[in-house]
Amino acid sequence: MKSRLTALGLGLCVGGAAVLLAACGSSSSSTSSGTRGGTYRVEATDFGFSNNFDPTGEYTTNAWGMYRGLLIRTLVGYKMIAGAAGNQLVPDLATSVPTATDGGLTWTFTLKSGVRYAPPVNRVITSHDIVTAFERIANPALAAQYGFYYTTIAGMDTYASGKAKTISGITTPNNQTVVFHLTTPTPDFLYRLSLPAAGPIPQEVSKCFTTPGGYGRDVVSSGPYMIQGSDKVNIASCSTIQPMAGFDPSSKLIMVRNPNYNPSTDSTSMRTALPNEFAFTINSNQADIFNRIKAGQADDSLNAPPASAVATLVASNQKQLIKTGGADATKYISMNLTQAPFDDIHVRKAVNLIMDKAGLQQANGGPLFGLIATHIVPDTMYNNDSAITGYNPYPSANNAGDLAAAQAQMRQSKYDPKQDGLCDTSACKNVFTIAVNTSQDLNEIPVVQSALAKLGITLNIRQLTPSAASGVVSTVSRNVPLALSQGFAKDYADPSTFMVLFESSSIAPTGNVNASLVGLTPALAQQLGVTIPKDDVIPSVDAQAAACGKIPTGNARTTCYINLDKYLMENVVPWVPYLSLNQVHMISPAVTMWDYDQSSDTTAYSHVAVNPAKQS
Amino acid sequence: MSAPLLEIDDLTVHFPSAAGPVRAVDGLSLSLARGQTLGVVGESGSGKTVTFLAAMRLLERSRPEIHGRILLDGVDVLTLPAREMREVRGPRIGMIFQDPLSALHPLLRVGDQIAETVRAHRDVGRRDARAQSVAALAQVGIPNADERARQYPHQLSGGMRQRVMIAMALILEPDLLIADEPTTALDTTVEAQILDIIDDLRTRLGIGVVLVSHSLATVADVADTVAVMYAGRVVERGRCEAVFAHPSHPYTWGLLDTVPALGAERSRLVPIPGSPPSLIDPPPGCRFAPRCAYRFDACTRHLPELVERGGGHADACVLPVPGRGARRHRLAPSGEEAAP
């Protein structure tokens, strides 16, 4: 059964994928045509960069959207449009998308000729620049935040430890050719090469930056735009290099046209490069940002608009200014399998059955901001395969929760001695819970509390800022039983990026992403100082995940992961997924063209245009 | 004799209050000739300070009801417009107050305070005014006047501060100086010096001086005429020697009896029993009657007016005149001779 369109009472159409949006007409995510010129102005309360805009370690969606659309071209990339088509790999710097040879161990790329760096470097990009990027990823001093994706390249570890001067697994027979030799077949390797850290980096500039985030103030562009002030940077020696004037992390990031950009090496299906300038500025007053967008003083924002601002626009018949895209992200409540009462699978199933997902959706601003999620990975990442799109293992009328079914599950658990369908023991009272104190997430708290109260579970809620909450939840020794308002977004469009959350190899004392501790072994538990409840065996999906990971991309791989998703939802139950998030954007009336970059989950900066006459 | 410098004619000053008008001054008449010193004596609450604040028109803030006339060289100051009154204060009347530490501005140098008086009324440059203030300080007997002029009030002794006030009040050579209890806050030795200075300046400048005090002894040396006030009215007045030699009002007798006599044997101080009457609701008839040892029924029937007894000596008492002095001595408890 395909997902039904859900509409706000006022006729606004939303959807998790642009395929559905196209049927709605005026609120479709692609606006038609645009002309050259003008400045695309984006305001935000914070850039939120995790590595100061240094591509080697920068791990945030905002930055990736800017890199991909404007600054950094990678060997393979995306069209940066909405929907499943936006998740398909296309050639960017490479002449074509290769297939692996040598039993999946070798990947060979031929670079397009005539692609130049922007000032101050100016020269042609060669295969050696790709090698530089990987040398930086491997360099432990630079703290590449997703470097773990590239450990399959042979020789990365040896280079990292300093025992080798070059990475043996990357060879450059000539300036146009680069070959990757892997240690094991990695079917999603192409996706990993589409990440910004793998983009070309000029060694003559990057050698001067030896700390994490240092290069972020002087990123040399390979794309249609460059950071303003790039041309003024003196790269004669490391001591003469100054930060580019156009980037001030606390106030602005301005990008202007790259004079060395050659459109013939690119394709307008990927990049249209219509505006003359992109201006990202900080505005600490969030309400003011959206007032300015409405007044035409700004065009877009990195922040989501408040639900009230959206409602105002809809009421005044301007819903074409609201744009959405499926964020390929899931919002969920995570349960710790080692902590009572969630160590009992029947309790976990009961929680899934009782949860008022419609209420949580409302707390987040309504259907515009996301569709009800019923399993781990969003449908779009399975290509909306019919095997998963209707799958709802814990259904309820109107997604409001099914008390009877939940109670039936409780009765099968060890926490209901009275067999009344309620959690009777003290383990269910004042369960320590971490919640997040942003305004939407605060709205979720009462919904969760009242749903769990129906099962006799009461919570002891601790509200923290997003970063503090993530810190506490990811520290194993804190033994957090329940964490609300958790979210996870894809790194690239392969379900393996989500499944890493359930592998035992991901478990770490701090920075632990496997908060549910799926696959925890007694040995590992002892190492971490965690107690597994007596007679309990924590389920593991390591074998299944490994098996799926080996399958080449295609229907077989998708089906494998679909089955793993179902297995997790029915036999492990680590989460209560409730929202398949949308990215919501409010744009100004001056924007004549807008699209959603599905690969980065941001505005498609390579497909926007403005009409300067309408800006103020 | 020329017209009096200051003449107060049936002055009443009533302050409004929630309980009714407070009759601080209730039918008061006084006069002062040029070149003379008038001593005005009374307890706290007798109205002596209020009388002269009214003369300076400094009571306006409290919005009192004032009737009567106060004539300065024949001009009724109570009817002058504010602007003209400002030209009276300073150039024509100077006033000094009881506590010079609080009466001088703590944040301004004393020389500047005197100089500004000059510059407010005369078209004089800053340097000239300062020179004049230094000269004035020297005139009141302050040594190192130039250095002292640059000091602040808290750096001077009590006596010196009062000299500053005198210099400030007299620098424009007014016709009248009102000194409201100028020595009450000072030691007795300093008190004598200050009174001397005032008296000296009076003869030198030929001005009239009103010396207000609660103590008869203070005014005894310097006053030419004396007025005794009680409950807002004058009860006895006359030439100083006459009042002291032959006091004719029982209140005056009481005041004199409270003055310890130097040289006499250890005598008991005889206080006047009782306390001053309420000014809101004064007793009928003579205001002093409730405390008077000599009262009789006629005292409470009518409010006695001042009656001349000859030679400028008047009192407001209805005791029969012949034998009044004897009666006093007869009834004095200790029996010694009253001080002259």
Binding site: Y146, P212, A468 | G90, F97
Partner: protein
Amino acid sequence: MGRYILRRLMWTVVVVIIVTLITFVIFYVLPSGDPALRFAGKEPTAQVLAQVRTDLGLNHSVAVQYLLYLKRLVLGDRYGWPGLGFSYSSGAAIAPQLWQRAQITIQLVLGAAVLWMVIGIPVGVFSALRPRSRFDRASLFVGLVFISTPVFWLGLLMLWLFSSTLGWLQGTGYVAFTTDPVQWAAHMLMPWITLSLAFAAIYARMVRSNMLDTLGEDYIRTARAKGLPERRIVTRHALRASLVPIVTLLAVDIATLVGGTVIVETVFNLQGLGSWVLNGALNQDLPVTLAVTLVATIAVSLLSLVADILYAYMDPRVRPE
């Protein structure tokens, strides 16, 4: 006087050490988890975490970190003197940002201070000269309204009224004085007004009550008895004495506002010290928090010293002989 100042400056150093120590302790005692996590990305490996930790200097014990901090503060670090380090979240050196943001906050605070004195003193004086008059009552009422109004609401109201509705003034943001003086003033006007209104009301009441007290003093009576014009009595005699405590209070108020303008800065998008330290504290950015705390502490200490000196200058009775 010189020795007195020297002694006070030495105490300032002691206070700075104590305050920075307390800040350090709070930072590490707060249960927000490992700060390095915040800067190590979504799925940090142990290696990345270790590197980030080393890079941020978090691999030493808390005591060593504190001593290193003090040492760098006094001797300077790789960015120059004073050694304030770099911001965890942006990797940028703190010192240049500190000067830049401090300028904005100082402009905001000083402008507001001028405004609230210009409004508050005359209102206070007129109220004291005509107590219980209609003006006095009206100014009391209006003052209460401004004191009770939440600052952020007032700021948003200003924006709505003057920027969106009437269009007289520009909206949020900051324009440097050197870039365009007129625009600078136009952008600062609403923040100044928003910040100053409550203070103006408070200062007006203080001036009023001081003036009323002063006007009842004996030396005012003397001044009248000298025949001085009323205007001179009010300004040179009464106001001068009334303003002494006000001026000293002003110095301390300015100092405490140095870190306290965060709401106005956020509403009007001024990149000042207040919003910087708030974000720093929320994001576990210790160097930023320390830097602003340092500035605020020094400001309070120095300005209260200035207040004491001013008091002695204005009131000769207080001078140490």
